[in-house]
C-alpha cells in the first residue's frame, strides 16, 4: 500500500468509527468519534509548495497556527482524500521553515518564555531575502504570531535609525525625490537626517 492509500483507508475507517486495533476492527465509542472530528494528533495533511514538493504535517499543528488552513479544514473545502493543499505562493525552502515554526510552537507551547524567545531568535537568523519570503508566507497563511515576530524584527531595523541608515539596510537605491523635494524633506524632518 502506498502512503496515500494507507492514509485514505485510515480516514475512511475513522469516519465510520471503526479502528484497526492489533489487526482486529473495533467499533469505537462516541468519544472517539469526537476525537476524530476534532482532529486527532495522528491526522496529517499535505501541503504542496510552488515547486510541487509535498510536505506532510500534523493537521493539529497547522490548524492551530494558520487561519487560512484552519478555515479550509473547517468548512470542508479540504478533502482528505484528495489530500493536498496547493500553496503556489510559497517555495519549498520557505514552506519547510514555516512548518518548522508551527510544529515547534505547538509541541513546545509549555516551555518557558526565555527558551521560546531564544528559539525564535535563532529561527529568524536568516538573510533578508529569507526574511521577506517568510513574511509573505506568514501573511498569506495568516499565521499571526509568526507575523508579529517578523514585524518586530523589521521594526527594529527602522527604529531609532537615521534615513541614510535605513535606506542602506533596505537597499533603497533610488529614493525618487527631486533635489528640491529632498531639500524640503530635510527641513521638515531634521531629526531624521
Amino acid at each position: 500500500m502506498t502512503q496515500l492509500d494507507r492514509l485514505s483507508v485510515y480516514h475512511w475507517l475513522n469516519a465510520w468509527c471503526i479502528k484497526p486495533v492489533g489487526g482486529a476492527l473495533v467499533r469505537q465509542e462516541p468519544e472517539y468519534i469526537l476525537l476524530a472530528l476534532m482532529g486527532s494528533p495522528l491526522k496529517k495533511i499535505m501541503l504542496c509548495s510552488s515547486e510541487k514538493e509535498i510536505f506532510s504535517v500534523e493537521e493539529q499543528v497547522m490548524v492551530q497556527h494558520s487561519v487560512i488552513i484552519n478555515n479550509m479544514i473547517e468548512d470542508g473545502s479540504y478533502n482528505h482524500e484528495e489530500s493536498k493543499i496547493p500553496l503556489d505562493c510559497v517555495d519549498s525552502k520557505t514552506l519547510k521553515k514555516v512548518i518548522d515554526y508551527c510544529t515547534h510552537h505547538t509541541h513546545h507551547h509549555n516551555d518557558n518564555q526565555e527558551d521560546l524567545e531564544a528559539w525564535d531568535a535563532q529561527f529568524l537568523n536568516v538573510d533578508s531575502n529569507g526574511l521577506y519570503d517568510l513574511l509573505m508566507a506568514a501573511n498569506y497563511l495568516e499565521i499571526r504570531n509568526l507575523l508579529d515576530l517578523i514585524y518586530g524584527t523589521i521594526k527594529n531595523m527602522i527604529k531609532g535609525k537615521k534615513i541614510d541608515e535605513i535606506r542602506r539596510i533596505f537597499n533603497i537605491k533610488d529614493h525618487g525625490f527631486t533635489p528640491e523635494e529632498e531639500e524640503q524633506n530635510r527641513k521638515e524632518y531634521p531629526h531624521f537626517y
Binding site: 521577506y132 514585524y151 523589521i154 521594526k155 527602522i158 533596505f170 533610488d174 529614493h175 525618487g176 525625490f177
Partner: protein, 468 residues
Amino acid sequence: MIDPITIGYPSNPKPVNPTAEKAKPSTMKMDRISLLPDSILCDILSYLPTKEAVSTGILSRRWRHVWKDLQVLDIEDRPFWSCRGYRFDSYVNAILSQRSANYPIKKFRLTSYNSSEDLILTWLDAVIGPHFQELYLFIGLTRRIKLPESIFTCVSLKSLVLKRYSHLNYYPEFPNVYLPSLKNLELDIVSVDPSKLLSGCPVLEVLKLILQNTTQEGFHVYVPTIQMPRTLKSLTFEDYTSLMEEINVREIYTPFLEYLHMRTVASANSELQVSVINFPNMVEAHLDLRHESVEHGAWVPKLFKALRETKLLALKYETTQCLFSAPAFEFPEFHRLLNLELDVPCFNTNFLLNFLHNCHVLEALVICIWKRAYAHPVEYNGPRPPSMVPNCLTSHLRSFEFRGYQDSTDEREFIAYILQRGLVLKTVTIHLKSDFDLETKYIIVKGLSAIPRGSPICQLNFIDHNHG
C-alpha cells in the same frame, strides 16, 4: 526577465545596462521591503512610535503615503522639547489632516505636557468614532480638562487609560456613561466620583483605579460608596480618599476576580469599610492596607479569609499587623497557596507557625521584618500553634527567604527549625543588615551554616546589604 528594481518606480525607470548586469555580484540585494504591499508595510509601521513611522514618508517615493493608512497613533511631545519653537501642536495637526480618511483611527495614545486643553479636545474629537478602540491619555496639565462626552458613549471602545492624576473637569461626577465594549479601564484621578463610570461598563475585566486625594484647590469630593463592577478579573485599587472625617464604603463583589492589588490609607478620624465576597478564582493577591485606627480595620481579617483560594499572597506589614491584633482571629485554610510574602511588624514565632499550619502546599516563603525608626511593640493574641511539624515543611517548601534579619534568639531558632524540618528545601536565603559589622556577620554566617539541614539538596545563601 524584468529587473525587479524598476517595479514600483514608474516615474523613474532605471535603464538596464546589459554589461553591468553580467558584472553584478551574486550577493547583490534587492530592495524587497519596498515591494511589500501597503497593508504589510503599514502593519510594520504600527509597531513604531508615530513620529518614526511618519518619517518613513521620506525614505523614498514609494514610502510617501504608506504611513497615512496607519490606524494606530502613538505620539508624545517630549522629543519636541529641544526644538526651537513649540512645534508639537502643528505636527499633530498635520498628521491628523494628512492621514487617510479611509482608515479610521483605532488606537490613540497621547502624552502631552504643554498642549492647550482646547487643542487636545479637537484632537480627541477627530479620533473618536465608531471604530475607535483604545485611548491612552497622559496629560500633564496643571488645570482641568473636560473630556468630550463622546468618549463615554463610544460603543467600540475597548480600553481607556487616563494616567497620572488626571484633573478631570467633572465635578463631582461623570456624565452619562455607556461603554458596552470596554474591557480595560485605568483611572488615576483627583476629586471625581468614579461611580457613574464604573456602572456604565457592563463587561469590564481589568480595572486600575487610583483615587487621589488633594484638597489643595479646595476641591474635595466625598466618594461615599464604590461598587466594583461584578465582571472584574483583575483589580488594582489605590484609595487615598479616607483622610477626612467620613465613612467610605467599598464593595468588592467580584466572584471572577483572579488578581487583586490593593492599597488603602485611612486616617484615624475616618472609617473605611470594605466588604467582599469569596474569591474562588483568586490567583494573586497583594495587600497594603494602612489605617491609624485598629478598630476600623475589622474588615481586614474578613478580606483575608475571602482570599483563601489564592495561589500567591503578599502582605505589607500594616496588613499583617491587623491580623496580629484582630480579636479571636483564626487562620483560614489556604488550600492552594504556593507563594507567601509576609512583611511582619515584629518577629513572632507563634504567628508564623500558625500561618504555616494552614498553608498545606506552600512552596515558597518570604519573611521580611520591617525596620521602623519608632517601633511600638505589637502583641500577637492568637493561640499557640500545634506541636507537630507543619505539613508544608515536610513535603512542599522549596525556598525560604528571610529579609531584615536581626539575629534575635527567636529568629535564629525559627531558621534552625526550618532548616532542620524542611525536608525538600532547595534554597534558603538570609539577607544581612547593613549595620552589622563584619565580625558579627561572620559569626552569624558561621552559626547558621553549622545547623544540620533536613534536606540533602538545601543550599544556604547570604546576601550582604552593604552601603556602597
